[in-house]
Symmetry: C2
Subunit: 196 residues, 2 copies
């Protein structure tokens, strides 16, 4: 009988991607929305703490294992910003264009190594609400912040992020290619490896 | 100039061990006691959250990177117990013998695979108080819980823990051998690899 794993997300795309990957590991993947569980405030101070908060919230409602995720862009020259606030960097109602504009402005005096950045994705799997030892899978995608946006694919900071080893931005990569090499792809592979 | 790293512990033995390992990586290691920082309550629900709480408490007092750690014994058949409460399993003033006795009693009906256990050690390095992306290094030492204690070395649950691949308990291993293969040794090696 497959083990049940509930994703702490209402994003159907994430559910489809993770379902496919973990079906071969004997997991039946569903999402919190199928159980009527609402999202909770992300009050953690690190990606891993936010991912754990989300997973634990699901475990508290269902007697099943839960997978939480959190991700964002980290710029060391900005002491980690936009970091946990990547999706709302320019304000609670900000869109991608607003956030990109704010990042370009914050980095207007940065050059060379100071333009280094990384996308981070952390996945945490809690077997039950009080599981002391979650599986933690981290994906990291290194790159550089361009001085102007380019590309129509992707979302978030993709039009500004030039992955190491590439000349174009993440928004100029084919979606399939991005999915394989991105921070999320690497985190999913690390999760898969630990569950195998 | 070496980077400063403050350990969120008052244990001189841990400081000596970690100093030696990280000196070659350009870190000057000190302990929170040198800064008059007291320990804080471990209110996290996972090892990684406790390690982060300890490190963040140090960062809040000093403008330096801090390393927190947390560790314990996890018995899947007991839904993760003693887990975060390994050092105080039999009560707030319990000693090692009390905790070992309580564990043997809790597992009196466990046999075969149900006696599997693992020691976990999690190290977290925060570059500053609001660093969203700490270095996380996890060590895991798998074994089986014996039906009676043996051995005089080590501490905690070592007299009951038979590491996979051994016939004797962790308390019967030479301290140097244990240090290399234990959960703590593996976590330190994983930290070293990530900082290299």
């Amino acid at each position: 009988m497959p083990k049940e794993l509930i994703l702490a997300t209402n994003n159907a795309g994430k559910v489809a991607e993770i379902s496919g990957l973990l079906a071969g590991q004997g997991y039946r993947v569903s999402s919190q929305s199928e159980y009527g569980i609402a999202s909770i405030p992300e009050t953690g101070l690190t990606f891993v703490e936010n991912a754990l908060l989300k997973a634990r919230h699901v475990c508290a409602h269902c007697d099943a294992a839960a997978l939480g995720d959190d991700s964002g862009l980290v710029v060391p020259a900005l002491r980690g910003e936009p970091g946990l606030y990547s999706a709302r960097y320019a304000g609670p109602d900000a869109g991608d264009a607003d956030n990109n504009a704010k990042l370009l402005d914050a980095m207007r005096d940065c050059s060379g190594e100071q333009r280094k950045a990384m996308f981070i994705c952390v996945l945490t799997l809690l077997k039950h609400e009080l599981d002391p030892e979650p599986v933690i899978a981290i994906g990291r995608w290194d790159g550089t912040i361009a001085t102007q946006p380019s590309g129509d694919h992707g979302f978030g900071y993709d039009p500004l992020f030039i992955p190491d080893g590439f000349q174009q931005t993440a928004a100029e990569l084919e979606p399939r290619q991005k999915r394989e090499i991105s921070h999320r792809g690497q985190a999913l592979q690390a999760l898969f490896d630990q569950l195998s």
